[in-house]
């Protein structure tokens, strides 16, 4: 099966004009499967961490959103322990005009602005609301142990 022009163009652009702090490289044997790394944004508890993610473009991409999951352990109210991400643009608000780069930017922004009111990991979100400084400290600790190698 040939790769759609859209995916080729997007991949080319990701290489030619990379987004600062984000790196996405397709696998040689499967050009729909990307290894992604995102740098934790500055002034966030994830600062200094490099988070690995996997990204897959399904058959009907871009009509359906890409599938993305964190591979690095992360303490975040909108990311569960399997690394699944609760983000509107990955679900109902997906638009075919969005791209891999815009989605990855949204994820980076989510790291900078956790939203405990729309949680995926309930325990984390609850802690985040009850004792934010402690939650942020835990997020920092996890970043140090899991995302700085």
């Amino acid at each position: 099966m040939s790769l759609p022009k859209r995916i080729i163009k997007e991949t080319e652009r990701l290489v030619a004009e990379p987004v600062p702090g984000i790196n996405a490289v397709p696998h040689d044997d499967n050009l729909r499967y990307f290894d992604v790394t995102i740098h934790g944004p500055a002034q966030s508890p994830y600062e200094g961490g490099i988070f690995r993610l996997e990204l897959f473009l399904p058959e009907d991409y871009p009509m359906t959103p890409p599938k993305i999951r964190f591979l690095t352990k992360i303490y975040h109210p909108n990311i569960d322990k399997l690394g699944r991400i609760c983000l509107d643009v990955l679900k109902g608000n997906w638009s075919p005009a969005l791209q891999i780069r815009t989605i990855l930017l949204s994820i980076q922004a989510l790291l900078g602005a956790p939203n405990p009111d729309d949680p995926l990991a309930n325990d984390v979100a609850q802690r985040w609301k009850e004792d934010e400084p402690a939650a942020i400290q835990t997020a920092r600790d996890w970043t140090r142990t899991h995302a700085m190698v």
Binding site: R6, E10, M63, A97
Partner: protein, 507 residues
Amino acid sequence: MSSDDEFMSDQMSDDAYGDDDDSLGEEFDEDDDQDFDDGKEDKPSRKAYEVDFKVFSDEQIRKSQQSQVEEVSSILGLPGEQCAILLRHFKWQKDRLIEKYMDGGEEVLEEAGLGQSYDTLPRLEKVRGFACDICCDDERGLDTYAMKCNHRYCVNCFRQYLESKIKDEGEATRIQCPSEGCSRIVDSKTVDLLVPAEVDNRYKELLNRTYVDDRPNLRWCPAPNCEYAVDCAVRPAQLHTIVPSVSCRCGHNFCFGCGFSEHQPCPCSLVKKWLKKCEDDSETANWISANTKECPKCISTIEKNGGCNHMTCRKCKHEFCWVCMGPWQEHGTSWYNCNRFEEKSGSEARDQQAKSRASLERYLHYYNRYANHDHSAKLDKDLYVKTEKKMTTLQSSSGMSWIEVQYLEAASKVLQQCRQTLKWTYAFAFYLERNNITYIFEDNQKDLEMAVEQLSELFEKPTDQLANAKKEMMDKTAYVNNRRIIVLEYTATGLAAENWKFTVDLK
């Protein structure tokens, strides 16, 4: 100007039912040409437990949508497509739409995802130097399409986008422009233009469905493959005072309030509670707590099936007293005669157990009867087939004509109906408080049940005796039917007047 419009909209809403009926009545010459409100007065014989309703076909629903769109279109002076989107946005509350639009048209259009200017003629265009943002195709002479928001994509991507929304997501009224963050709603002219007929049909079907879903007075018949919708004026807020059973043209009887199959006299909320109770294994837990105790040490569940109070747990070998649950050693010399029995903690535990047992028995009493009638109701089909056979044999053996054996079919129908009613009287009774009207209700229930069993017994007779029992059977059928009406009338009037006292909250 504004007074003129108000006048018009008032007139329109008054005539709404009449208008629909005129357009429908031509093809379906049932009693549709009556005005809805008059219908109530025309039927003084309506029983307390019956509700007024009308059945509409798919086609009729489409037409009534169309006529409402045209009506609004003529009032607001907007193209039909735009009015359709507005009406859907306002959940088909015509008057509210007209009122709001008169207050501030622009705002309403914006809110419904229409924006300001709106072209009625969508068309494809070829644009020089165009590259599609979705597929990245930039060939020359590519057909492209954009709605008024000017987010332009190639025709293939737009089509694919619409197809995936319609076919995969079942979306119809809220399909937005493919561009990120653009809230413009895709109108049906655009859909017509872009997608193949098969998808377009699906789209129309979905529009129809949301129309019925949006209207509180309409509900699809829940029977499989049935395409009729029922119009009934009962609102969800009234459901604690009325049980609106309706009967679809396909023959399925169901409750307009909850869509469940007919459950008179039991109100919807009780039906829901009852079914949940029956499904839950909370009752299993209830049984366990009534019949078993837990080993104080390893918490294994133990049922005592005989023997003395000196228990030795099979699992952990812990020895304890069944009566006070204390360790056996502490009983000292008063073995086999636990004097701690009278202690407060012991008596509390006993009370708890007795209560739990009583409530379990009460539940089982009602459940067994409910399940029994439910089971009988499930044998309906068998009974019906058997009845037909009996009718044929009876014809040949006794020389009666087809008309003359019709009483058997009538009897079987009444029997089925009564079983259905009886079944739900038990769920109803389970939640009733004990008081005088409950006693009267139970008497009525008993009468109906006895009569039903007698009629049922008559059915069991061999065919050669059936002919002689004709009169008896017809009398019984009439009597049973009467008893059913009495039960339903009594419960329905009580519900309407909110006389019944329930052990749970109905609302």
